[in-house]
Structure formats: C-alpha cells, structure tokens
C-alpha cells in the first residue's frame, strides 16, 4: 500500500468516524452527588442535595496581611517553618524523599513533612499533572489554610514538558492554581529543590508570597479554567 493510498484511506476513515463517533452523552453528575430521597425515621421523605447539604462551598475571602512588625515577624516564622504536604502528584515525588536523608536534610531549613493539608502551608506539585490528579490537587490546595505556597516542580508544570501533546496532561499549572516558585528541570535534583525552598523563603520574608489571596481575588478565572478541563466536577466550588 502506498503512502498516498494510506492517507486517502485514513482521511476516508476519519470522515466516516466523524459520522458515527461515540460522542458520550454522559452528564457527569457523580452518582453520589445526585439529589436523593431518603426516608426519615418519622416516615417523612426528605431530599438530600449532597453538594449543598454536605459541603460549605463558600467563596474564599482575601485575608489581607496586617502589615507592620507583627506581620514581618509572622512572615519570618512562616518562612522558617515550611510544612510540606506529603502528596506526590507525579514522577517528581521521587525527588522529595532524598530531602529527608542525611545528605540533604531539609529539616535544617525548617522544612517538615505533614500528612494532612490542614497542617501544611506548602504544596509541592511534583511534575506532570493529569486532569484526574489536578482535581485532587485543587481540592487539597483549597483545604490548606492560608497563607499557603505552591512550588511547581519540573518542566511539565511549566509548559507540559515531554507531555506537551498528551490528551490528559495539563500544560501550564499556573492557569489552574497560583504558583509561587517554579523549579525547572526534568527532573530537578534535590539540590534544586532546596534552592527553590530558599527562594520561597526569601519571597515569604519579603511578603511577596501572597498567592493565596491572588487565588481568592481571581477565583472566578481560576475556576473557569479548572472547570473547562474537569468535566466531572463532583465537588463544591471551593473545598473548605
């Protein structure tokens, strides 16, 4: 079969498949999010709207820094006590464990790992993010208390890296959540990570790491971007 024939054939097939392509008609309501009716103990039937009833879902508010010496002191404390959420989103997460080894020892810098977003203030996006993971990242990011910082790791978070043409991997992280520090490389070594942390500490001390407020300010824009690619949005608009 010659090349020309093949191309013809393919375009022919394409035309055909356009016609009978399986365009899914899913509405993408998570089954647990559908409004359901339950019978109360007294026999009455009540309607449960899970997204409304079970989640707060309120918009985030900007929490302006107070300024002055107190804020400076607190910024210093924040910079010296960076609690990193233990959430490996991509291949870069393998670069984080070396940080706790004697060779790199991030504890020297006041950097510690925490298991729960409630107690963390730094989030390392370690490499490529598929759409599926992005949903979890957004949820987790929103659950962290402000002020919170995001360190994006590797070229995938900057421009998609080697996954620039993947149908399931995002290209630019900062369209979806605000990023404080990018660390380029594929993958950056732990030294580079530490350099990134040091950069972050500088930013915090200077009072420039207010991306949480930026997120709140541009909330609609971020949400629009997020919802554009996350079709089965099975959570409230803001996860408290």
């Amino acid at each position: 079969m010659s090349e020309l024939d093949l191309n013809d054939k393919v375009s022919e097939m394409l035309a055909k498949s356009e016609a009978n392509v399986i365009k899914s008609e899913k509405t993408f309501i998570h089954p647990e999010d559908e409004v359901r009716e339950v019978v109360a103990p007294d026999g009455s039937i009540i309607k449960i709207n899970p997204i409304y009833d079970y989640f707060s879902g309120e918009r985030p508010q900007e929490e302006k820094p107070r300024g002055g010496i107190v804020e400076k002191f607190l910024n210093w404390a924040r910079s010296e006590s960076i609690w990193v959420l233990g959430f490996g989103t991509g291949c870069g997460s393998i670069e984080i464990p070396p940080l706790v080894t004697p060779r790199f020892d991030m504890f020297r810098f006041g950097i510690q790992m925490r298991p729960t977003p409630r107690q963390s203030n730094a989030f390392i996006i370690s490499g490529y993010l598929s759409v599926k993971t992005l949903k979890r990242v957004i949820r987790t990011y929103e659950q962290m208390p402000a002020p919170k910082y995001v360190i994006a790791l590797g070229s995938c978070t900057i421009n998609g890296g080697m996954y620039y043409d993947s149908y399931s991997t995002i290209n630019r992280l900062d369209k979806y959540i605000p990023v404080d520090v990018y660390i380029a490389g594929c993958m950056p070594r732990p030294e580079a990570l530490i350099a990134g942390f040091v950069k972050l500490k500088e930013l915090i001390k200077e009072g420039k790491a207010e991306k949480a407020n930026e997120y709140a300010r541009n909330f609609d824009e971020y949400k629009a971007n997020q919802k554009k690619i996350i079709k089965d949005w099975s959570m409230p608009d803001y996860n408290w």
Binding site: L14, S24, K26, D165, S166, Y167, K231
Partner: protein, 186 residues
C-alpha cells in the same frame, strides 16, 4: 501445543496461525466462535489463566483486532486468539463470566476504543480518564496533539530542538561539521 491448535482448528476454523515460539502461538478466529473457543480452552485444554486482553486499531482495514491471551500453566504455553471486529460497529460478546478480571479489561477497551461489551458489569464507568467527552482517545483517528493545543493553554513560546544538534551548537559552535556527522544527519 500443536495438537491443541489442530484440535481447535478443526473445531473452530482458525486463520493466520503463527507459531511464534514453541510455547507461544497466535491465531485468528471468527467473532462468533471466539468466546466459545476461549471457554473450550479454559475448560478442556487447561488454559486456566487469563493473561490479558488488548486491542489494535487497524484503521486502514476498518477493523479492531481484539486479542485474548491465554496461558496454560501446566504446559507453560501461551495462546493468543485474535478476533477482528467491525470498526464502525464496534461490539463484542462479553467474556466477563469466564474470568472476573475481564470486567476491567472490557471497561478499559470501552473507554479507550469505544468497543461495547453488552452485559459486562460496570462497563460504562470511568476507567482512566474522568469525564471524557471526546471520541475515544486511543483510536487512531483521535489527534491528541490537536486536542491538547485546543484544551490546555499551550505556552506560545515553546521551542523544540533536536537535543544532539542543540548541544553541539551550544558546546562547540565553531567546530565544522564532519562528513560522518553529515551522513548521520541524513
């Protein structure tokens, strides 16, 4: 192994029998007979282990090729049964009753190629991608680059270089190109 294939051939009329190795044979089989043959192999010939199930998109022929790869632990042999199904009407009889893990394979094929397996449990649920609305993403007529460009805010200033060329230019900008290199470049 040979006797098994012969027996199977006489029973179900195999095509394209390929003896890849002593213990690895591929053969094509009619869509109608496929599940019968798999059941027969499982129940009478000792192919008790279901290795995998995969799909190839022969877009030029307008066909999907499903592969049921079975393993016989006593003979230490594998047998791949290929089934061609129509690409325009991609539907195959479900085999979930034979091995439970086939549920998952069929769910994956449904999502990735849009092949329907009526009756297979949970076959319509998400498998890898969540909330996919476009045509099935593993079909060859799906253009992933275009999709990514359309969907994910590509950075406009992205440049792609041949790493070897780029590094040579960067490290040794003044060095002339040798004949060997030119040959290689071709």
């Amino acid at each position: 192994m040979k006797t098994i294939i012969e027996k199977l051939n006489s029973k179900y009329n195999l095509q394209e029998i390929v003896y890849q190795r002593d213990n690895l044979v591929f053969a094509a089989i009619n869509k109608e007979n496929a599940i019968d043959a798999v059941t027969y192999l499982r129940d009478y010939e000792g192919f008790s282990h279901f290795v995998l199930m995969s799909c190839v998109d022969w877009i030029e022929d307008g066909k999907f090729q499903l592969l049921y790869l079975l393993n016989n632990p006593t003979l230490k042999s594998d047998l791949g049964l290929k089934v061609y199904i129509d690409r325009n009407n991609p539907e195959m009889v479900s085999a979930h009753h034979l091995w439970k893990q086939i549920w998952t394979y069929q769910r994956e094929l449904k999502e990735a190629f849009g092949i329907n397996f009526p009756g297979s449990p949970r076959v319509d649920e998400n498998f890898v991608v969540e909330g996919w609305t476009d045509i099935p993403h593993m079909r060859r007529d799906f253009d992933t680059h275009e999709y990514a460009q359309k969907t994910y805010f590509p950075r406009g200033d992205r440049k792609t270089n041949d790493p070897a060329e780029y590094m040579r230019k960067k490290l040794y900008p003044n060095q002339p190109i040798t004949a060997k290199q030119r040959k290689d470049d071709k």
